[in-house]
């Protein structure tokens, strides 16, 4: 997904798309596993320094399971609502990790926003929180919209193997 985002020049990550998809289809165990493994594999390429953000993947997987169990992917608007809620929660946790472990400097996009806000006079705590929550809101909104569209587009034969997925989009 990172390749697609780069090619389209979008200022988002969408790196939790797989986690949300697996969690919504196969439940909390598989979702958490997908999130942790994807973070581990990403760390192999980019350095294990980013491993603490695996916690965010776990949180996102649990939010996706909650959304799926309540029919959160049934319509575009429901997907958007759950995406915003997840973005808010993930952004807050992300800002804590970013502030306390990384001193506010993490990925280029979100750190550029942090630096800009700090330059405008915001305290470092406020700048990190605003930047993290802001970028995560947009990112998770797009992820949930994409996963919702994918789940609604799955053939019935395939969906029948995933009871939670059927509940996520069903009546």
């Amino acid at each position: 997904m990172g390749f697609v985002v780069n090619q389209l020049g979008l200022p988002v990550y969408l790196d939790s798309t797989g986690t949300v998809l697996v969690a919504a289809l196969a439940g909390p165990g598989a979702g958490v596993l997908a999130g942790v493994v994807s973070q581990l594999v990403r760390s192999l390429y980019e350095g294990f320094v980013w491993l603490p953000f695996g916690l965010i993947q776990v949180l996102i997987a649990l939010m996706a399971v909650l959304a799926a169990s309540r029919g959160g992917f049934r319509t575009l608007w429901r997907s958007a609502g759950w995406g915003i809620a997840t973005g808010l929660v993930a952004g807050l946790l992300s800002s804590l990790i970013s502030y306390f472990i990384f001193k506010g400097v993490t990925a280029t996009g979100v750190t550029a926003v942090t630096t800009l806000l700090a330059g405008l006079g915001l305290s470092r705590e406020a700048a990190v929180t605003t930047a993290s929550v802001g970028t995560d809101l947009v990112d998770k909104l797009l992820v949930f919209l994409l996963v919702g569209a994918a789940l609604r587009g799955l053939p019935a034969r395939m969906m029948s193997r995933y009871p939670l997925g059927a509940r996520a989009t069903g009546p």
């Binding site: 350095g47 001193k103 400097v105 700090a118 994409l146 395939m158």
Partner: protein, 225 residues
């Protein structure tokens, strides 16, 4: 010297612990120098270069956010944090350079780990380049059908679905087929044995003991002084 597949990753863990425990800013800077010297000594120029490239944006933002905006101790904090992050990134990339998936799988089986967990990581690693190639193919196909991937941000967000949705649906189809193939081969059907029995040898023991000793010494130093 061929190390046990687990040794490089345990050394990364030791590097991360030392980066946090050693007194700043000299400790992390010295650690970074040691890691880079190891990279040079083992001929891992590419890993060292990649680590530097990955760390450049971090250094720029650290120097801006902590040094330029706070001044005084902020510069020291920026250098210490930059050295910590770069040392861990460089150690990680060195470990990845030494990573041999098949050997890692054998070592995991020798230790009695479930083949499923090791296979999960290896399958993900092998899937990454394949998915990237598939994404490129889908993007080209959609562009040939008139999809615009440049221009206004809203237009580019609109282009996301025609590229990402086929990618997700094709990948799910592949996962379905692979799951069936693994089931027919009785994966998860009991304990397996390794083809090659990979053991920890003396260089692994020496390196791991030295790393553990350094971490304990750094911890005692910080606790006592």
């Amino acid at each position: 010297m061929r190390l046990h597949p687990f040794t490089p990753f345990l050394l990364v863990l030791a590097t991360a612990l030392l980066a946090v425990l050693l007194p700043a800013p000299l400790g992390p800077v010295a650690l970074l120098v040691v890691v880079m010297l190891v990279a040079v000594a083992t001929g891992a120029w590419r890993a060292a270069g990649a680590a530097i490239l990955l760390s450049v944006p971090l250094w720029i933002f650290l120097l801006l956010l902590h040094g330029a905006m706070r001044g005084g101790e902020g510069w020291q904090a920026a250098v210490a944090q930059g050295a910590r992050l770069t040392a861990i990134i460089a150690a990680s990339l060195l470990a990845y350079r030494a990573f041999r998936p098949a050997r890692f799988l054998d070592a995991a089986a020798s230790r009695g780990w479930s083949s499923g967990s090791a296979l999960l990581i290896l399958a993900t690693l092998q899937a990454a380049p394949r998915l990237r190639a598939r994404a490129a193919r889908i993007l080209e196909a959609q562009r040939s059908r008139g999809l615009r991937v440049r221009g206004r941000p809203l237009g580019r967000i609109g282009a996301l679905a025609p590229v990402a949705l086929p990618l997700i649906l094709q990948t799910l189809g592949e996962v379905d087929a692979r799951a069936m193939a693994l089931e027919t081969r009785a994966v998860g059907g009991g304990r397996r044995t390794a083809l090659e029995n990979v053991r920890l040898r003396w260089p692994d023991h020496v390196l791991l003991a030295a790393a553990a000793l350094a971490v304990v010494a750094a911890f005692c130093w910080r606790a006592l002084w």
